[in-house]
């Protein structure tokens, strides 16, 4: 049975490592500052106790005044999972890319960039994946008009 680690039992470990990283921790997920996302993710992946070596998926949700990125991490060895979230503001949505940690993030980040308009710094090949170059706008945004 995959043990879903809640924000509460992971947040203390993260705050011990990066004092001001955790913005909010609830029973579902732990929300981290977007600037420190890469360091926290690297910490989560490399510490032996957590060992989140399998990035299940990345989703992006548009909450009108901010975008929320949801990283669903799983550890195959310990069979536990964690939902890591980060928020970036709407007018300059940029988040460090996780491709150097998990190569599986490559196409998912390109898709989020294409449909939601969030740029991922450090992504090797960030361009549209589902739509064609020269397409105006990002369709999955709530304020997208045909």
């Amino acid at each position: 049975m995959t043990v879903a680690l809640t924000g509460f039992n992971v947040a203390p470990q993260i705050t011990k490592q990066f004092p001001d990283a955790v913005v909010e921790a609830n029973d579902r997920a732990v929300v981290v500052k977007s600037g420190l996302l890469f360091k926290v993710a690297q910490y989560l992946k490399n510490t032996p106790g957590l060992a989140f070596d399998y990035l299940n998926h990345i989703s992006a949700v548009d909450y009108y005044d901010y975008f929320e990125l949801v990283y669903y991490l799983v550890s195959i060895e310990y069979n536990h999972s964690l939902v890591l979230k980060t928020r970036c503001d709407r007018n300059k949505p940029a988040v460090p890319s996780a491709v150097s940690l998990w190569r599986g993030a490559d196409y998912q980040e390109r898709e989020i960039y294409d449909l939601m308009g969030i740029t991922f710094e450090g992504h090797p090949n960030l361009k549209r994946i589902a739509l064609w170059a020269g397409y105006k706008g990002h369709p999955l945004r709530k304020d997208y008009l045909e």
């Binding site: 739509l131 064609w132 170059a133 045909e146």
Partner: protein, 204 residues
């Protein structure tokens, strides 16, 4: 003798930009559906001419060996494959082989949703098919965009891009429905009056 690698890599961004431009132009151009090529109906009614025996032979030969091009974007593709497989055998109608290249195909069964990104390619494949050629629009997506008609990236129907001869509704249409559509196409071909300028035969 050392073989040294020269790697003039293409510029992907440049190619994408050109293709993107092409899609935008085609999208602007194709806002109205292309009228279906039903020329044979009008001629038939107006001049009520009998088909010459040459026409009959030609139409019989064209009708009984229509080779479909494998154009299989989405779900309807697997109903088309099921039709071609052993249970609903397509080769009873002489459509034995699915030709991969449009050069050797005379029928395009458009089995799947058409998106704007795919539209210029469909136009090019259709243009590269040899005459005489026909198109069966298979499935609701091919006829009118179907369940995805309200989407931002779906072409509402193949007839915006290429002239369509027979429409087979269904999502996906059952193999029997597709076979019925193919039979309708056969009837259409039988009645078609190929524009022969046989000045040899027509003396006066």
């Amino acid at each position: 003798m050392e073989i040294e690698k020269v790697t003039p890599v293409y510029s992907a961004a440049e190619l994408d930009r050109i293709e993107g431009q092409e899609i935008e132009e085609l999208r602007a151009r194709s806002q109205q559906p292309i009228p279906d090529p039903d020329r044979w109906l009008k001629d038939e009614v107006q001049r009520n001419i009998l088909l010459t025996s040459v026409d009959a032979i030609i139409n019989w030969s064209r009708r009984s060996s229509l080779w479909p091009a494998t154009f299989a974007p989405a779900c309807c593709a697997f109903e088309m494959i099921a039709t071609a497989a052993s249970r609903f055998d397509l080769s009873r109608f002489g459509m034995e082989i699915f030709r991969a290249s449009p050069r050797q195909a005379d029928l395009m069964i458009t089995a799947g949703t058409l998106t704007w990104k795919m539209a210029p390619l469909v136009k090019r494949i259709y243009d590269q098919m040899a005459e005489p050629k026909w198109v069966i629009a298979m499935g609701a997506c091919a006829i009118s965009g179907g369940i995805f008609a309200s989407s931002y990236s779906v072409v509402p129907g193949y007839n915006r891009i290429i002239p369509v001869d027979v429409y087979v509704p269904g999502c996906p249409p059952r193999p029997e429905a597709l076979l019925y559509g193919i039979r309708m196409l056969h009837n259409k071909i039988t009645k078609s009056h190929s524009d022969i300028q046989l000045n040899l035969l027509h003396k006066g």
